[in-house]
């Protein structure tokens, strides 16, 4: 018996030793070459980020970056609660970053170099590093409007002058300001919003809206298939269609700009490296490359020094569009965003 016990135990020790031997170097290797997990939107966006942001960062610091997708706000909340981090850094839109701060989900940037000596005005907002922006623009079928389609949101609402089917995103905080602009509210008076007026304005266009899109792909498909004559969609999706040779026109006038921010997940063990990444991601040359490839607009004005005029013309934040576009202002929304969204969803269903 003793002999058998001894063999069994020695086998355990031996096995354990092998396990430890196998595991340790691997463990050390991960520690030595540090890894940062960054949440990405996948596809073109991810390729642009890897080439222009991740690889230069790794070359400079030796810190490896692994992309993680998809982007999920719910996951950010989940991992701060559970302490198990799938990603250390992610991007958030304006509405989300405010919710993230209210729920205490992101690291404070107060004592970082980024906050103390910002590379440009507005580089830090709500503990996020202002990176890039996209816009909701008007796009239309050239064949449907040979003499030119709607040039602003009031035109988009004008079913007499521009008959045809409409399509917009099923997303209250983006559509309500547009509805006010269509109703004649000047860009600097949009916020805080007159929510009731926005809904009254929406009532006028509702019968022409055949479908409310929910996925970027879907919005593109509707336009490509000729299902919709006139649509409010993201500028990048429109540019992709135009680049593919689709007979579609993009209108930059009254483009609605929405900013995206890099944030660090609160409590991540990689906080220091994550902060280094945030600082590096705002550098003009890298940001310019990222925006060029991902079809976004840089928020760092210096990035335009690295972009040709033709490239800048494809970006909603270009200086040339400054007086034509307007920005979201979620801090000054004019109501509880969730309650307004609920109201919007029910309004669509009636």
């Amino acid at each position: 018996m003793a002999e058998r016990g001894f063999t069994r135990r020695s086998a355990l020790v031996l096995g354990g030793g092998i396990m430890a031997g196998l595991a340790t170097p691997n463990f050390r290797r991960v520690r030595a070459a540090e890894v940062l997990h960054v949440n990405t939107w996948g596809g073109v966006w991810e390729r642009a980020a890897i080439k222009n942001l991740f690889e230069p960062f790794t070359r400079e610091t030796g810190i490896e970056i692994r992309p993680v997708s998809p982007v999920s706000f719910a996951k950010l909340a989940q991992q701060v609660r559970s302490g198990a981090y799938e990603f250390d850094v992610t991007t958030l839109g304006a509405g989300e970053i405010i919710r993230a701060n209210q729920a205490n989900l992101v690291e404070k940037l107060d004592n970082t170099d980024l906050a103390k000596s910002p590379p440009f005005p507005g580089a830090v907002f709500q503990n996020g590093a202002s990176s890039h922006a996209f816009a909701t623009v008007i796009a239309y079928q050239k064949a449907k409007y040979p003499n030119g389609g709607p040039q602003n949101w009031a035109d988009f609402w004008d079913l007499q002058r521009f008959p045809g089917s409409r399509c917009m995103q099923r997303y209250a905080s983006r559509i309500l300001p547009i509805a006010l602009a269509a109703d004649g509210v000047p860009a600097d008076k949009l916020y805080p919003m007159d929510i009731n007026r926005a809904f009254r304005s929406l009532d006028k266009i509702k019968p022409a809206v055949r479908v409310w899109w929910t996925q970027g792909q879907q919005s593109q498909q509707l336009l490509r298939d000729g299902e919709i004559d006139c649509i409010a969609l993201w500028h990048a999706r429109t540019l992709e269609l135009i680049d593919q040779g689709q007979p579609v026109e993009i209108v930059w006038n009254q483009a609605e700009i929405e900013r995206a921010y890099w944030v660090v997940a609160r409590g991540t063990p990689n906080k220091d490296n994550a902060l280094r990444f945030l600082e590096a991601a705002l550098r003009p040359e890298r940001l310019a490359g990222f925006c060029r490839d991902s079809l976004n607009g840089p928020l760092n004005p210096a990035a335009f020094n690295h972009l040709s005029p033709a490239e800048a013309a494809r970006m909603p934040t270009a200086p040339a569009y400054k007086d034509k576009v307007f920005e979201q202002d979620i801090l000054n929304f004019g109501g509880d965003v969730n309650a307004v969204t609920q109201r919007f969803e029910r309004w669509i269903g009636t």
Binding site: A74, S165, R170, V209, R210, V211, W212, T214, Q218, D225, G226, E227, N338, T341, Q342, E345, R346, I348, G349, T350
Partner: protein, 280 residues
């Protein structure tokens, strides 16, 4: 205790042991999460039956439920109207032709319903064959997509195999001599169907209607992609509550109501026909 009783006792123990992995799996991955959903519906964000009260009183939820039920009913009836002649023809056809028809029905059954949904988008779209045919005839292309019509037709297509298979099962078992003797006694073909075939096929019809109705209650993707924004099915509203508002309590309450409605339908079926017959 006799030897046989002991043997049965042992074999039933064995069969329980064989069932155990499945039962543990179902308990862990179905019963427990489902119970959590029920608990969440009365505890998120705080304890109470507020979500249920809201569903009953606020008008919106009841309307969505009503619309879901009406849609499911319409789809079930459409499936019956289209499925009965097909199943009847299959049951009457020679074996090789019946097999070929069966392959067609089951092929559409095996194709992912997402693929079938997108196929309908192509067929009903502005540049699809139907619109082009209408234009060729000189009509303006009708707007077919994003209407109640488009979602109903797609759901009918997706659920039709369930109806055909349950009808085929009973129609195949009808003694061929019965309709023949009715005809030889002077019944018209319509009278044969009405007085002989339909009564004998009644269990299959009830099966098919129940299956299609219950499956249709939970439809999610098809109405969202093809339907009009004005008609919403319960499953779509639940998805939205979770994804957009993180309102787990409200979504859970809706899910429980949907589950309860499904159980009521199945309960009615069980009292009349017996649940064990539902799958033929």
């Amino acid at each position: 205790m006799s030897a046989t009783a002991a043997a049965t006792g042992e074999s039933s123990l064995k069969s329980w042991l064989l069932l155990a992995p499945l039962l543990v799996f179902l308990a862990a991955f179905f019963v427990v999460p489902l119970a959590q959903v029920v608990v969440m519906s009365v505890t998120e964000p705080e304890f109470g039956f507020g979500h249920y009260a809201e569903i009953v009183t606020d008008g919106f939820h009841l309307r969505v439920l009503m619309e879901t039920f009406v849609t499911a009913l319409v789809v079930s009836l459409c499936c019956l109207l289209l499925g009965f002649p097909l199943a009847y023809a299959m049951a009457a056809a020679p074996a090789s032709l019946a097999a070929a028809m069966m392959v067609v029905v089951t092929m559409s059954f095996w194709t992912s319903f997402l693929v079938r949904t997108y196929a309908w988008m192509v067929l009903l779209g502005n540049r699809g064959p139907i619109a082009q045919f209408a234009e060729w005839l000189g009509f303006a292309a009708p707007e077919l997509l994003f209407t109640r019509f488009s979602s109903t037709i797609a759901m009918t297509h997706i659920l039709l195999p369930y109806m055909v298979l349950s009808l085929y099962g009973v129609l195949k078992r009808i003694e061929p001599a019965l309709p023949r003797s009715a005809a030889s006694l002077g019944a018209t073909p319509a009278a044969v169907i009405r007085h002989v075939v339909l009564p004998l096929a009644a269990p299959g019809i009830a099966n098919g209607l129940t299956l299609v109705f219950v499956l249709c209650l939970g439809f999610y993707v098809t109405p969202i992609l093809l339907g009009s924004p004005r008609e919403q099915m319960v499953a779509g509203v639940i998805g939205q509550q979770v994804e957009e508002f993180l309102a787990f309590g409200e979504a859970s309450a809706m899910a429980v109501v949907l589950l309860a409605s499904t159980l009521i339908v199945l309960g009615l079926y069980h009292r009349r026909f017996g649940l064990d017959r539902l799958w033929g």
